[in-house]
Subunit: 229 residues, 2 copies
């Protein structure tokens, strides 16, 4: 396994020239999401090719894919620019999630089995035991928690949207510390969610997940503001 996200701010070392391929995409995507490249900055294929130690074709294809996902905007014969990943972007995504996730959750309440509830509780116990000690582990547990609810939903398109949005938000908030207040809220909302599933209260569960998403978005935006100065 040779996928090491050898970062590389503005200027990269051409040291490792072998391998790569699809990871050019990941590199560019990460650079955009994490704000290493500035908003609306022009992305020249030749320059990127030099930086990443490949030729132009992989760059071009990666840019096209990113365009399809909406991370860069391209105008004919004028190349690509990075879409600004700012507070508005986070707000936009979170607002969409505040529409989608409650709907997915509502469905889950009508579908969950006793085993599902127990699994949710098990994961939640792990999360609380970990108590935000390891960012990576916490993120994985949290992912499992929500995946358990969404993964079996029939609307694959909506779930994919959720996955993509979650990836983006995670990439943005990676490295941020989670405030104590937010930590408490996360645990509370998860517990409330489980209770609603147990009680078969679909509306309550939807409301809880709505607050969960909203709080998460708010927290990320506030962290972004802090980082700006």
């Amino acid at each position: 396994m040779s996928r090491i996200s050898k970062l590389s701010d503005a200027i990269t070392d051409p040291s490792r020239s072998e391998d790569v391929g699809a990871s050019v995409y990941e590199q560019l995507r990460d650079d955009i999401i994490s704000g290493r490249v500035k908003a609306n900055e022009r992305l020249k294929v030749a320059e990127l090719a030099g930086r990443l130690g490949t030729s132009t074709n992989p760059i071009r294809e990666a840019l096209q894919q990113l365009r399809g996902e909406g991370f860069v905007v391209m105008t004919p014969n004028r190349g690509a620019r990075v879409r600004p990943i700012d507070e508005d972007f986070v707000r936009d995504i979170c607002e969409i999630e505040m529409l989608i996730e409650p709907a997915l959750t509502r469905w889950f309440v009508g579908f969950a089995t006793q085993a599902d509830v127990e699994e949710l509780e098990r994961i939640q116990d792990e999360i609380e035991a970990l108590n935000f000690g390891d960012e990576m582990k916490h993120s994985n547990l949290d992912l499992r928690f929500h995946q358990l609810m969404y993964d079996r939903h029939y609307n694959r398109h909506a779930v994919e949207l959720w996955v993509r949005h979650r990836h983006i938000l995670w990439a943005i908030s990676r490295g941020f510390p989670t405030s104590l207040s937010r930590q408490a809220n996360v645990l509370g909302e998860h517990r409330e969610l489980i209770a609603c599933v147990k009680a078969q209260d679909a509306q309550g569960a939807a409301d809880a997940i709505g607050r969960h998403v909203e709080g998460s978005g708010r927290h990320i935006i506030e962290r972004m503001r802090l980082l700006k100065r």
Copy 2:
């Protein structure tokens, strides 16, 4: 000028055989959405290049973009396959729209000016005067109608999602006749929507647009079923 649009056996639409401006991307996308290429069919770059009269690079880039948008799935060193565009796909998209459009509409009710209402009524008058006589013209008018409501929304991401979904649905339903019952419903829902905007009834408007989307999706799915046999 060496652009000879060398088309193309069974698969191409003869209507625009020499449209140079039509990009490779649009061609492939249309072929997928309209079902001209079968679900899960393999998309070989060399073959497509031959069919569309270009070399392989434009094809590769178009495929990458389509991958970003979710129309094809690609596995490393094994190329691209078509994501099936079936009833489930339409249902998934419509369900998402049934979440997003009401939210956008709700915002519009709180934002609309007198001039907006008048413009809506003007467009609606045109739609009714046309009375589904010309599919293309009707589609454009309908687009203007909804664009007027959504285009100024602050959540660009949500609006883009709407635009993309609308494009897909339009491409699928293009060529289908609209049933008389559906025609009546469309007009009624538009009028109801305008009335709610006038009365500043956000909830009513959201409900109306929800029914509008749901009805539209149902209609498309039923047409797809008819075409299947």
